[in-house]
Symmetry: C2
Subunit: 390 residues, 2 copies
């Protein structure tokens, strides 16, 4: 793996922030490389991926008293050290190649890496992504295989009375005018995540491209709606409150707006046997509500580290949240729960697993190592993608 | 416009950062709203769009000594004031509704707004976006019109010997199996921007959707390549240097890889009369090199605040950077230069305008108010979109 070393040695020694305010130049000054070098600070290279598998993170601040790296490849935030140029540095080696969210703690405040363009889409924090690749490509890496595409689609939501956006993955060779009809996975993000998180952090397109190319996953369309409609509703003047725990609205949105839009605009199969719903964390809770609540519409229901409170699953089958147990047993062909053994939600998942076993509901319970992370999410998707529609 | 007020009053009073490290919960602890409220800090609402057109920005830090708002709706960074809960606040009213990049200066360090999901895609800084809407929708706002879509396409670059990504806008009703063939605009971002910046900051899809719906712009496909291939090349082990000023590589990439891919995969017209190239800042420099360097391929060439050094345009027509003047005059039907009168690049644009006039090269020189900003970029795109392919 080549390093970013020579960026620093590049001819101009500048990373001009053209589109930011231009305080120094003034009208009429001619732009020359010399003027640019005066106007803009020298670039800092971060992260730098080293040939030995380690990663060097850098952050420039002459003023900060303490800078730490808070990265999910480390058990705890680690101190960085300042050089004579005011650049704080740390080099760490992850246990394995993967994509790790991180930020800097600058005198205690979370700061995304200014020099890393890869950002974790989220409503409530700004993390950067360290994309550590190994000598052999991982399933989430772009590989030399046919590539699908991810499209930002705008649709009218009758549930929310606004025009909204979602991401839609179509596999390589998908032909909207062809004869092939594909099954559909509805894939929901976690709380404070957005409709972009499965794409930008989950690399779901690379995972599907690679598994499909290897013949390990069926060709499918993956639909990623935005489970939280309130940011768009408030921007468009249609809401003055915010309830990001709501699951009813997600189910309504998927059943009344997203699914009809997809089935009207894509060449898809429309039987329950060709429809799956999955989600992570709060999205796992929502996937259970949407899927088990509509078992005649979804034969595949996958909950990744679902946010379940207490033993609510015991009443969910009788209070209308899910369909009655008999109906779920009859219609849901594949019920999958996956939660890492270090996940803070593992106890709730174990409770649900136990209850389903007790009630004779056929299901899979997958408990790998790891916590409530997107490293685990990519693994969950890799697992279920190989099971769906088979 | 409704405000985010009641987010704070929402039932849970939390914005759980599920996907971050979970230090406090530990294995086996059951997740309840009470546990969540202990584990995660209360949400801060920022930005809040007020009914009177003002915007309130908030940043939580009990420890910071000074927090300022650095926002392009203000002439200079403005101080924020801390309340008893450690929340720093400022309310400002922009001169007009628009999308304004901003960050917080926390004890002098740039920090993106943690509570704003809209981020400026960039290699070198992390700004948030304040999307200020007026009582009448602006051209960059999503409106109740048919919506096109933006697709992330992966293609093989022979120029760079890697698989790369670009964004492609197709207008509403575009049918890859239909008879309609569309003209194509190749649209390049500025220095340190990415292939996403025209989409996420420029709102180019809304601008095109709205102008097309009004009959003011022709239906067209807009292709947004990533002008700087080095980040992808280095991640894939195919480069160990970085030259973000390079224009040859962009022209080669567009001519040898992007254009052939688009013409093979979309229903597009393939004459020079149906092909345009445009770009902002460094991308304006690149658009001039690509378009004036290949005048038999592009009848439309648009440079938005182009990064021109000194009087290089005088030699560019004779040193091979551009085609000879006679060839440009004969083939380029529409040459457009637009630069704000407060832009630090205005002098270079005026020089180019004067030289073109002197040499008898027909062109348009557009000089609105404003500086080297994406507020101006959206205006430039709105201007040229109404002229192209007519």
């Amino acid at each position: 793996m080549k390093a970013y070393k020579t960026l620093i040695a590049a001819a101009l020694l500048v990373m001009p922030l053209f589109a930011q305010a231009q305080p120094a130049a003034g009208d009429g000054q001619r732009l020359t490389p010399q003027v640019m070098a005066r106007m803009f600070p020298a670039g800092v290279v971060s992260p730098e991926y080293n040939d030995d598998g380690s990663v060097t993170f850098r952050y420039q601040s002459a003023e900060a008293k303490e800078v730490k790296l808070d990265c999910q490849m480390l058990p705890a935030a680690a101190p960085m050290y300042k050089d004579a140029n005011g650049i704080w540095t740390i080099t760490v080696t992850p246990g394995k190649p993967d994509i790790y969210p991180y930020c800097f703690l600058v005198d205690g405040k979370q700061v995304a890496d200014p020099n890393n363009m890869f950002i974790f889409p989220n409503e409530g924090f700004k993390n950067s992504l360290a994309d550590v690749r190994g000598p052999v490509p991982s399933v989430q890496d772009i590989q030399n295989v046919p590539h699908g595409k991810v499209t930002y689609r705008y649709y009218h939501s009758s549930t929310c009375d606004i025009d909204r956006v979602m991401c839609v993955y179509t596999p390589a060779g998908y032909d909207p005018a062809g004869k092939e009809k594909l099954p559909v996975l509805y894939l929901i993000h976690g709380m404070t995540d957005t409709y972009e998180t499965w794409f930008k952090v989950g690399h779901m397109n690379n995972i599907l491209d690679n598994l499909i190319a290897e013949g390990k996953a069926k060709r499918m369309i993956v639909v990623m709606p935005y489970a939280n409609p309130y940011p768009e509703m408030m921007l468009q003047g249609k809401a003055d409150h915010y309830d990001s725990m709501g699951t009813d609205i997600v189910t309504n949105e998927i059943m009344k707006d997203v699914k009809p839009f997809i089935e009207a605009n894509y060449k898809v199969k429309t039987s329950a046997a060709d429809r799956a719903v999955a989600g992570f964390s709060l999205g796992g809770r929502q996937a259970l509500a949407c899927g088990l609540g509509n078992p005649k519409s979804f034969q595949y229901v996958c909950a990744m580290a679902p946010a379940i409170f207490g033993e609510e699953y015991k009443t969910n089958f009788s209070n209308g949240t899910y369909a009655p147990l008999a109906e779920v047993k009859k219609n849901v062909k594949f019920l999958w729960i996956g939660t890492g053994t270090s996940d803070f939600l593992i106890a709730a998942s174990r409770g649900l697993d136990g209850y389903l076993t007790e009630q004779g509901v056929k299901h899979t319970f997958y408990t790998p190592d790891g916590g409530h992370t997107w490293m685990n999410c990519r693994d969950y998707l890799t697992q279920i993608a190989q099971k769906l529609f088979k």
